[in-house]
Amino acid sequence: MLAYKKKQFVTGVAAVSLLAIFFAAWWLHPDRSVAGFAVADPASDPLAMVGQAPFYRSRFASTDLDEFVHSSSVAALPSGALMAVWFAGTREGAADVQIRGARYDASTAEWGDELVLATRESTSSATRRHIRKLGNPVIALAPDDRLWLFYVSVSIGGWAGSAINAMYSDDFGENWSAPKQLITTPFLNISTLVRNAPVFHSDGTIGLPVYHEFLGKFAEYLYISAEGEVLDKSRISKGTHSLQPTVVPVSAQSAVVLLRYAGDTHHKVLASRTEDAGQTWSKPRPVDPSNPNSSLAAVGTPDNGLLVALNDLEDGRFRLRLMGTDAGLNFWQPVIDLDESPDPLGHPFSPEVYREIIGDKFQLSSGPRRLALMDEFLTHLDQRVCAVQGCDFEYEYPYFIKSADGLYHLVYSWNNAFIKHVSFNDSWLDTQL
């Protein structure tokens, strides 16, 4: 009888404890409302740009002549300054790949020296994890002037084993916090990658477009607090054929997303929309431009259209094109080919011919500061961009932003030898349309 009463007492205490635990959990985790996108007020748009002279300039942001450079990103800082980041190493996925960056000085219109922002060792030390390789850095300035750097690291396997690391700077990139790994999936926290520009919500929440590569290939949207904690996520696509979403907010509640197509059928850019600030997305549909399974980037234009940088090709990445489209994504118009192979089909060139062509192209973007690198660049050309079948032109992985001063900034991989920065204004854009 005593034993029975004791058992009943224990069960009663357990039941009350459970009730308290679950009630506390319920009470402390209320449903979170989602703030609308922070869309620039058209009235505060720099009207000064209207009527200004057309402006277009290109420069190399990177300096190193030995490394494979790829997957660049750029953020606009106060006073016209910029900070670009990319990854550099002996090859993509190599253990020596570092996350590097450089600053753009608006007064001299030149990019400064390369900085090392993260390495395999620094990431391993901060996250207390074995790190095999790094990739895909993305940099963005939040409305609270915190500069965020997201990049992927892999502990096991290939890129499908990636996790996202986040670090921040409160002094515009002079000093950085230690990286922290974001937990975004239940499956060993693997296979969330970042590539495209974050957007911001009116409450300071960061909207980070990401994608998944383990078994499936699909896109997601992460809500991250201004302190860097993952708050929620939504699924943009499903299945095995879409990657690297680029999100463009149109209003507080609606945004358009364009996706890299990774399937085997239509080879077209995919598009989807949200009407509830990213909580749900329409089923992605193919739109007009071709996509050879390559990254693309988009920004909004004053007429609610989009400006998209992409390889509008079914195969290869030998031409990087700027295209404009309307708000409905129904009418697409080429604006300019930013960089392209002289061969319309992108066939490789012999090293001799290639050297001559790329030398000319180099001078168009080197700027005075990097012009002195030309001879050394051309001398080492064979190891960097030429294979047995010849030398290819590759212009890929664009990243696109519009800064508060009204300038468009685009960075991309220039033959994986340099990170190229192109900037222009709306007046220049008008002359191209």
């Binding site: 459970l18 679950f22 506390a24 449903d31 502990s155 937990i183 239940p186 499956f187």
Partner: protein, 205 residues
């Protein structure tokens, strides 16, 4: 830094302790063996402790896994009684059901992402509370304790993850539970079939 990795060290030592045979040692020696394995988890590898190195590939164990491993280690070291078979089947069934609900859909099979329920967790808290009370009603104290402590750990933010699911389940306990339930159900079906076959002749006239 040890603070951040306490789970990694505990999981490493407990898992190795449970996976390796007891060799007939007394409960006292088993405790020493567990302490030795905990010490092994601090061996340096590639600038990290061994447990942190392994944790790089496995991620954090769920709190439910930790509680289950602690209980099983308690049995081996003489602190806890063996778990009745019925109770272990109930726990395995709950964990397998959670795993089947969570993992396939998170791999992009549909637009529904159950992992999202862990960020806005009120509906999931309700479901887990019902499961915990059901286990308690079945006198399955370990099962109720696993779910209750996982929820308590989530409430106080004991792990790096802000997602409730990461406290409830990990791929290892999910996979183990699915396999164990499959083996259990197959065994039951085979036994039932064998029983039916042995009874069959007696039914004939």
């Amino acid at each position: 830094m040890i603070n951040m990795l306490w789970q990694a060290h505990l999981s490493f030592a407990l898992l190795l302790f449970l996976l390796t045979p007891g060799l007939g040692f007394s409960p006292g020696w088993q405790r020493l063996r567990l302490a030795a394995l905990l010490a092994v988890s601090f061996l340096p590898v590639d600038g990290l402790t061994l447990a942190a190195y392994v944790h790089s590939f496995t991620g954090d164990a769920a709190i439910t896994s930790l509680v289950a491993m602690l209980y099983l280690a308690g049995v081996r070291t003489g602190f806890a009684p063996p778990l009745p078979r019925r109770a272990s089947v109930q726990i395995l069934a709950v964990m397998a059901a959670l795993a089947v609900f969570l993992y396939p859909a998170t791999l992009g099979l549909s637009y529904l992402d159950p992992y999202r329920l862990g960020y806005q967790p009120r509906p999931l808290i309700l479901v887990v509370a019902l499961l915990a009370f059901a286990l308690l009603a079945l006198k399955n104290h370990l099962g109720a304790c696993m779910l209750g402590l996982a929820t308590l750990a989530f409430t106080v933010g004991l792990k790096a993850s802000p997602n409730y699911w990461d406290y409830l389940i990990d791929p290892f306990i999910g996979l183990y539970s699915c396999c164990a339930i499959l083996v259990y159900v197959t065994g039951r079906l085979l036994r039932r079939k064998a029983t039916a076959q042995t009874r069959a002749p007696s039914l004939q006239p």
